[in-house]
C-alpha cells in the first residue's frame, strides 16, 4: 500500500471523503502484474450482463435465412430501454486453408454488425455489400460495431454431429475448448465509418460504457453460433436431432484471438486505462477497508476459491509457462485455504489476508484473490461499476516552468529514468505498422527494416530523451514549457503526456516496450482482463486465445432471477448426457 486518495489528482478518487489506501502505482502498473490480471465483476462483460438482465432486454430473431449448409443471413432485433438495435450476421463458406485468426485475413466464417434501429430489406442489402468485406467495406454512423469470427474447427462439427445424433455434447470436451466460434476482430468507436463514441454516449445509453457494444456483439455471436449448430443438426438428421440443453448452452462461450493490435491501444489511451485501473483498485481497497470478515464472508470466500481452483484445473492450454502459472496458482489457492483453516481465528481483517497473499503467493494468485474478494462483496464492488466519462485530451500546460516539469518527471517517471538505455537489450525491439492492413508488428532493430517508421510506444525512452533535453537547457528555473516546445517541437507529444499523466494515479504502464525481455502478451492480457475474458491460452509471446462469456446467461434466462455467479466457469458433469 502506498498512496492515499487526495494526494494526487486521480479522477473521482479526489472526491473521497476518507482517504482510501490504494496500491502503489509502481506495484499495480508493473507490466508483469498487468500480465497477471484476471476478470472480475467489474469487467466490462460482467457489467454488461448485469445491465442486460436488470433491464430485461428483449432479443428476438427477426430473420433467420440460413441454407442447408448454414450459410446466409440472420437478423436479431434488440429492444433495450427506449432504443431498438439490430444485430446482423452473415455466414459464409470458408475453406479450412483460408481460416486465419490474424487481422490480415480477408475471409471469415461469419461477419457481423450491430446497428442502431431496424434493418429492412434495403438496409440489409447495403450491409451485405459491405459487412463481409470488413475493413475493405464502408461502415456508416448508424452502425455501432463491425466484427467477424471463425469457427472452431475442433468443436463445431463435433457439436453438430452430437446434436444430430440426438446426444448432448460432452461438457468435459467443451471444457477443453469452450466455444464454437472465435472472434478475430471487433471494431467500434468510429472505426471504418462506424458511429463515434461521442454519438454512442449521447444516443445509445445502453452502450455508453467501455466496450459495451463490442462485448454485446460477442455475446450475440455466441447465441448465433449455438443457433447455427442446432440448425445444421436438424438439417443433418431431422428425425433424431435434439436442441442443446440450456446448461450446456451456458457453458459454451465465444472464443477470441487477440494479437498485437491491442497493445498500442493501451499506450495511446493512458487516461482511459488510468480510470479502468483506478476503478478496480478503488473497489479492492474499499473491500479491504470496509468488508467485514465473519464466518459468512469467509465461507463465501472459500466457496469461490474452490470454484477458482476447479476452473484452473479445467483450463487446458498448450503454453508451458501459462500451464505452470495456472498450476502454481491452484497450489497457492489450496495453500491459502489451508492457511485460513489453520489460522482463521487470528485473521481479523481481509487486509491481513491480502498482506499474507502478497508475501507468499505469485502475482497470478494475488490478482486472483483480489478478483475473488470483489465477488465476496458485490455491493461494495458494484458501487464502483460506473465508469465516468474520460476527457481523453492530454493538454499542454505551457505556463509551467521547466524546473517544475523536471520535478514531475523525477517524481512520476522515476521508473523510466531508472532504465539503462545504453544497453542494446533495452532497445532491441521497435513497434511499427505493416502495410498489410496496418497490422501492428514488432521488429528487431538490428536486422529488420522500418525503424525510421517506429511508432512512439516506448514511452520510457521518450521520457528519458525529454529529461536529458531538459537538463541540457539553460534557464530551467525561469523558462516555460511553451518556450521549450517552441524550440523543440519534437518534444510536444511527450511533454503533454508527462504533464497529463502526472495528474493520474495509474495509467502509465511501467515497463520498457522496446526491451528484449518485454512480453507483449502481458499488455494483451491486461486489457483482456478488463474485458472479462477467461482461460488465457497464449499461442506465442505475440498473441493469445481466450474465452468470453463462458458460463454467462443465455437469451432465455433474461427475465429470470439472476445471481451473477458465472465467473470461473466449470464443467458440470450433471449436465452431460449419459
Amino acid at each position: 500500500m502506498g498512496i492515499e486518495m487526495g494526494t494526487d489528482r486521480s479522477g473521482s478518487a479526489r472526491l473521497e471523503k476518507n482517504p482510501l489506501p490504494l496500491r502503489d502505482p509502481q506495484t499495480v502498473m508493473d507490466i508483469k502484474r498487468l500480465g497477471s490480471m484476471h476478470q472480475s465483476r467489474l469487467s466490462f462483460m460482467r457489467a454488461l450482463m448485469r445491465k442486460v438482465m436488470r433491464e430485461q432486454w428483449s432479443i428476438q430473431t427477426e430473420r433467420m435465412d440460413l441454407d442447408k449448409s448454414g450459410y446466409g443471413s440472420v437478423v436479431y432485433r434488440v429492444s433495450a430501454g427506449e432504443n431498438r438495435y439490430s444485430f446482423v450476421a452473415f455466414s459464409h463458406q470458408l475453406a479450412d486453408a483460408e481460416r486465419s485468426d490474424r487481422v490480415i485475413a480477408e475471409k471469415w466464417d461469419v461477419t457481423l454488425a450491430l446497428c442502431m434501429g431496424e434493418v429492412d430489406e434495403a438496409r440489409l442489402a447495403r450491409l451485405q455489400a459491405n459487412v463481409p468485406k470488413q475493413e475493405a467495406g464502408r461502415a456508416s454512423t448508424d452502425m455501432l460495431v463491425l466484427s467477424r469470427g471463425n469457427k472452431s474447427s475442433r468443436n463445431f462439427e463435433y457439436v453438430v454431429d452430437e446434436l444430430a445424433a440426438g446426444r448432448q455434447p460432452s461438457m468435459q470436451k467443451l471444457a477443453q475448448v469452450g466455444y464454437l466460434y472465435r472472434t478475430t476482430a471487433v471494431y467500434g468507436s468510429g472505426k471504418f465509418g462506424l458511429a463515434d463514441w461521442q454519438k454512442v454516449t449521447s444516443q445509445c445509453p445502453e452502450f455508453a460504457s467501455p466496450f459495451a457494444a463490442e462485448m454485446f456483439s460477442c455475446f450475440m455471436l455466441r447465441h448465433f453460433s449455438i443457433e447455427q449448430a442446432e440448425h445444421l443438426a436438424k438439417i443433418k438428421s431431422p428425425s433424431t436431432a435434439v436442441p442443446m440443453q440450456d446448461a450446456i448452452k451456458r457453458f459454451i462461450g465465444i472464443g477470441n484471438a487477440t494479437g498485437l493490435g491491442m497493445a498500442p491501444y493501451l499506450i495511446r489511451h493512458p487516461q482511459l486505462i488510468a480510470q479502468w485501473v483506478l476503478t478496480r483498485e478503488r473497489a479492492i481497497a474499499r473491500v479491504l477497508r470496509d468488508g467485514e470478515l465473519n464466518q459468512e464472508t469467509l465461507a463465501e470466500f472459500l466457496r469461490i476459491l474452490a470454484k477458482a481452483v476447479q476452473h484452473l484445473d479445467e483450463t487446458m492450454v498448450a503454453d508451458r509457462d501459462q500451464t505452470d502459472r495456472n498450476r502454481t496458482a491452484q497450489q497457492e489457492l489450496l495453500s491459502l485455504r489451508d492457511w485460513l483453516s489453520n489460522t482463521k481465528t487470528t485473521i481479523a481483517t481481509w487486509s491481513m489476508l491480502s498482506n499474507h497473499v502478497t508475501k507468499v503467493a505469485s502475482m497470478e494468485t494475488q490478482e486472483l484473490v483480489n478478483s475473488i474478494l470483489l465477488e465476496v462483496f458485490p455491493d461494495i464492488a458494484d458501487a464502483q461499476e460506473k465508469y465516468s466519462g474520460v476527457d481523453e485530451g492530454l493538454r499542454l500546460v505551457p505556463e509551467m516552468l521547466l524546473s517544475d516539469l523536471r520535478r514531475l518527471i523525477e517524481r512520476h517517471y522515476r521508473w523510466a529514468l531508472d532504465i539503462d538505455f545504453s544497453q542494446a537489450s533495452a532497445n532491441r525491439y521497435f513497434w511499427y505498422r505493416s502495410e498489410e492492413k496496418m497490422e501492428p508488428r514488432l521488429g528487431d532493430r538490428s536486422n529488420e527494416p522500418g525503424v525510421e517508421k517506429e511508432m512512439p510506444l516506448p514511452i520510457a525512452r521518450l521520457v528519458r530523451a525529454c529529461y536529458d533535453r531538459l537538463c541540457a537547457s539553460t534557464d530551467i528555473s525561469s523558462s516555460t514549457v511553451a518556450q521549450f516546445v517552441a524550440q523543440h517541437p519534437e518534444q510536444l507529444g511527450i511533454v503533454k503526456r508527462i504533464q497529463g499523466m502526472s495528474q493520474e494515479c495509474y495509467g502509465e504502464i511501467r515497463g520498457n516496450l522496446a526491451d528484449e525481455h518485454m512480453l507483449p502478451l502481458d499488455l494483451l492480457r491486461c486489457k483482456l482482463s478488463f474485458f472479462g475474458v477467461s482461460k488465457f491460452d497464449p499461442k506465442s509471446k505475440l498473441w493469445v486465445r481466450n474465452t468470453m462469456f463462458q458460463g454467462a446467461p443465455i437469451l432465455t434466462d433474461i427475465g429470470k432471477p439472476f445471481n451473477d455467479d458465472w465467473y470461473f466457469p466449470v464443467a458440470n458433469p450433471d449436465c452431460t448426457a449419459p
Partner: protein, 271 residues
C-alpha cells in the same frame, strides 16, 4: 463519402506523420484540421493543396525573431499554421496567463484558418482571443476569428468596407506577406483595449460601430458551428473521394513493407 470523426482523426494523424510532423505535432495538426472542418470552416476544400506543400518542407523551420511577454514576432518562412500552431499557441497562452495579454505578428505563414483550433484551446482556458488577416483573393476584406461565449467557442467573420484598395485596415497585416495578427487577453475588455491600441477598426469587434459602408459578408456564428459539428457527428464528415484517396496514399508512407519476416512480428497465422 462520409467518414467518422475518430476515423478521420486517426487518418489525419498518420497523414501529418507522413509529412514529417513529429510525435505530438502530428496529433495537434490532425485536431486543428478536423476541428475546423467539423465546425463549418470547410478547410477540406484547400487541404489537398496544403498537403502537397507540406510534403515539400519539414516542420520546424520557423524563426521566432522576438519573444517577450507581450509581443511575439515570427517569420514562419512559409511554414503552415498546422506545423507552427502548437508552438505559437503555447507561447501566447503562457505569456497571457502571466501578463494579461499578448500579441503575435506572424509573417510568411500559410494555412492561417487552422489557427481556429488554437484560439478555441485558449478560450477553454477562459482567455479572449482574436486572429485577423487579409485574405488574398478578396482585397479590402478582413478575415476575423474570435472566441466568444462559453467553452471557448470561436466564431468566424469576413468583413468588407475598408475600400477596394490594397491597404489593410489598421494593423491587420497585409496578405502579400502572408501575415497574421493574433491577440490574446485575459478578458474581453482587455481584448478590446488591446485591439484599439493596435488600431484595429472598431467594427471588427463591435457591431454597434458598423457604418453603411461597412459590410459583414460572411459569418459563422457559435450556433452554426455547434450545429455543423453535431450534424457531422451524426451523419459523418463529408469527404471528397479525391481528398480521401490523397490522404490514404499519404498515410501509407508511415507503413512498413510486409515481408515474410515481418509477418512473424505479429505471430503465425493460426486456425
Amino acid at each position: 463519402m462520409h467518414a467518422s470523426r475518430n476515423e478521420l482523426l486517426a487518418l489525419l494523424k498518420q497523414v501529418y506523420e507522413a509529412c514529417g510532423f513529429p510525435y505530438g505535432l502530428d496529433e495537434s495538426a490532425a485536431e486543428m484540421t478536423l476541428w475546423a472542418q467539423m465546425h463549418g470552416l470547410n478547410v477540406f476544400a484547400g487541404l489537398a493543396a496544403c498537403l502537397s506543400r507540406l510534403q515539400q518542407t519539414s516542420p520546424g523551420d520557423q524563426r521566432f525573431d522576438s519573444v517577450d511577454e507581450q509581443l511575439i514576432e515570427v517569420d514562419a518562412n512559409g511554414e503552415s499554421m498546422l506545423a507552427l500552431g502548437s508552438s505559437i499557441g503555447a507561447l501566447m497562452l503562457a505569456n497571457t496567463l502571466n501578463s494579461g495579454r499578448c500579441v503575435a505578428r506572424l509573417q510568411n505563414c500559410r494555412d492561417r484558418i487552422f489557427v481556429a483550433r488554437i484560439l478555441h484551446g485558449a478560450g477553454q482556458r477562459n482567455l479572449s482571443c482574436l486572429a485577423a488577416w487579409w485574405p488574398e483573393p478578396a482585397p479590402g476584406t478582413v478575415q476575423l476569428l474570435r472566441t466568444s461565449g462559453d467553452h471557448g467557442l470561436v466564431e468566424s467573420s469576413t468583413f468588407r468596407g475598408f475600400g477596394d484598395d490594397v491597404t489593410p485596415p489598421g494593423s491587420v497585416p497585409h496578405e502579400s506577406a502572408q501575415s497574421l495578427l493574433l491577440v490574446y487577453a485575459s478578458d474581453s475588455e482587455q481584448l478590446k483595449n488591446t485591439a484599439a491600441e493596435l488600431s484595429l477598426p472598431a467594427e471588427l469587434l463591435d457591431e454597434s460601430a458598423w457604418s453603411n459602408s461597412f459590410e459583414r459578408i460572411e459569418h459563422i456564428d457559435l450556433e452554426q458551428m455547434q450545429s455543423s459539428y453535431a450534424e457531422m457527428l451524426e451523419g459523418g464528415v463529408p469527404v471528397a473521394d479525391s481528398l480521401w484517396e490523397i490522404m490514404l496514399r499519404l498515410s501509407a508512407k508511415v507503413l512498413v513493407e510486409s515481408t515474410e519476416i515481418s509477418k512473424k512480428g505479429a505471430g503465425p497465422a493460426g486456425n
